[in-house]
């Protein structure tokens, strides 16, 4: 027994940190877009950081619990309520069989996550519980959730040690920040000096052509030397392709594993969570950081989460 979907929202799927090791066969990694929100939600309910949770997009789900457990909601603010009373984000909450959790429209952000203590009992496919929507793989029957789907808990709990202290002081994830740090490459030399100036100097807008594969941006055309086509190579998470139209596409979890457009830069891992919480119409800018700076930020972020993990593990 676990959860029953009363209303699936716009796009709700099961995601963990993704499928590792299958990109060489053409299988997208998938996984949560906002990995910091996923990891934090899991830590709050005593899971390992990479346990599978629900990822919701723009409009949240309504869920009935058919068993008791401890949950946490993180990511964007979708105004969650439990039995019609508002509940806080980034806080562990005990729920009982028969309770209803309802998330609404995104007030801030774009993606929200619900983690369940002990995780969800769905099969591990190629090392991951993540849903790969295009390949109909993993998660719950390889698809987004629908009304009346029932997903059992793997190892639910009644409560957790120090439940009332399981709060991450609402993670001011710089919601107003709209500048993403990037490192240059893989094909920066495909662009003219003017093109680079445009990329770093102008503002870009998130369009409605955005999904788990990638996000198309609108804004001034980025000039390249002669063409945007390259001999297909691998595409990293956060890679910024500039196809022939000259407008950036930021590649995300369900991206194709390889592609033939020049990549001007890659968003640093720490800023991908900020970006995937932007919605249509939001404006962003890019700023360059060195690989050394990027990796320093990466390890800082990782140690913040490790500290949180330690703190929560020591609660009595």
């Amino acid at each position: 027994m676990g959860i029953k979907i009363l209303n699936p929202g716009l796009l709700t799927s099961i995601q963990d940190l993704g499928r590792v090791g299958y990109q060489k066969f053409g299988i997208s990694p998938s996984g949560a877009l906002d990995q910091t929100a996923l990891k934090t939600a899991n830590l709050l309910v005593n899971n390992s950081m990479g346990e599978a949770a629900l990822e919701m997009t723009l409009m949240g789900a309504v869920i009935e619990f058919t068993a008791s457990n401890v949950i946490a909601v993180t990511g964007g603010n979708f105004s969650p309520t439990l039995n019609d009373s508002p509940i806080p984000l980034y806080t562990a909450i005990a729920v009982k069989a028969g309770d209803t959790l309802a998330l609404g429209v995104a007030k801030t952000g774009c993606r929200s996550y619900i983690a369940f203590s002990g995780g969800l009992d769905v099969p591990v496919v190629m090392g991951s519980k993540s849903t790969n929507l295009k390949c109909k793989l993993g998660g719950y029957q390889g698809r987004q959730l629908r009304m009346y789907d029932e997903i059992p808990f793997a190892a639910p709990v009644e409560t957790l040690p120090g439940l009332s202290q399981r709060i991450v002081p609402y993670y001011k994830r710089e919601e107003k920040v709209n500048t993403l740090s990037v490192v240059l490459g893989l094909q920066t030399e495909y662009f003219t000096a003017k093109g680079m100036e445009t990329f770093f100097g102008e503002e870009y807008t998130v369009t409605n052509r955005s999904d788990r594969m990638g996000c198309n941006l609108d804004g001034p055309v980025i000039e390249y030397q002669s063409k945007a086509d390259i001999i297909s190579d691998g595409i990293p998470f956060g890679g910024i392709q500039i196809p022939n139209g000259g407008k950036p596409i930021i590649m995300l979890s369900d991206r194709q594993t390889t592609g033939g457009y020049a990549k001007i830069a890659t968003v640093i891992s720490a800023d991908i969570p900020l970006f995937v919480q932007r919605k249509m119409g939001d404006k962003i800018r890019f700023k360059e950081v060195s690989i050394e700076q990027a990796q320093e930020i990466y390890t800082e972020e990782a140690s913040k989460l490790e500290e949180l993990q330690k703190k929560l593990l020591h609660l009595k």
Binding site: F25, I27, C135, D233, G239, T258, S269, I291, Q295
Partner: protein, 242 residues
């Protein structure tokens, strides 16, 4: 090794680029480095993606930083032995050509001024190197199609090409591993599943293998298909002389 580039691909991957052209020689180096990384476990490396002329190496910067990993990769590329790394596997793929199994075979024959049988014969006459997989699970980028078979893509792509379709698109040939929209010309269908998520090894082949197409009759197609459904069919794997 000279002319190798270690390109930054964000804060957690490096692309090792061996050149800027599609050739068996360059691809051989990519696959050789991939082999070395698979057999010599490098701490922090989480995943590798070989492509035509570069290897994307994913890693965890908390375990190994960019500069250290580049140093490590440089030392490993010194030991590249492309000959030993070359896969000796030829995977034989049975294909029923033409008719309802390959609706565009007549068009390809007409465009190339060959008979249907000549198209089939040329398509089966030699082995194709799998340079890389990408685009879809198990979608192979093959080298070395007989240039006489080059046929432009359809002007209007089909909304749905069935799994197992064997097709020609421009200078390339390939197999659709799962239903997909596409503009390639369909010349045949294989009853085997290049991609089956429920199989122990979901993908039939890997980069570096070769594919040999073998023409089969309609009866053989259905026989093999029945075996495939019971997971009792094994593609012939031939050792290649190198």
């Amino acid at each position: 090794m000279p002319d190798i580039k270690y390109l930054i691909a964000g804060d957690s991957s490096i692309s090792v680029e061996f050149g800027n052209e599609i050739s068996e020689e360059i691809n051989g180096k990519v696959l050789a480095l991939n082999d070395i990384l698979l057999t010599n476990h490098v701490k922090g490396v989480t995943e590798t993606v070989p492509t035509y002329r570069s290897l994307l190496v994913y890693y965890d910067p908390c375990v190994i930083g960019y500069n250290k990993l580049v140093g490590k990769l440089k030392r490993l590329t010194c030991r590249l032995n492309t000959a030993s790394a070359a896969s000796k596997r030829i995977i034989e793929i049975p294909v029923c050509y033409g008719g309802t199994f390959g609706e565009d075979l007549n068009d390809v024959a007409e465009y190339t001024h060959l008979s249907n049988d000549e198209v089939i014969q040329r398509h089966c006459s030699h082995d194709y190197l799998i340079y890389m997989l990408g685009f879809l699970p198990g979608f192979v980028y093959l080298g070395g199609m007989d240039s006489k078979l080059n046929t432009p893509r359809l002007n209007t792509p089909r909304a749905k090409i069935p799994a197992g379709a064997v097709a020609i698109g421009g200078e390339q040939t390939g197999i659709y591993p799962m239903p997909s929209p596409g503009g390639w010309r369909l010349i045949g269908t294989t009853p085997v599943k290049p991609y089956d998520p429920d199989r122990k090894e979901p993908i039939l082949y890997r980069a570096g293998d070769h594919i040999r197409f073998k023409p089969i009759t309609e009866e053989a197609f259905y026989e093999i298909q029945a075996l495939v459904e019971k997971d009792e069919y094994q593609c012939a794997i031939i050792e290649r002389d190198t």
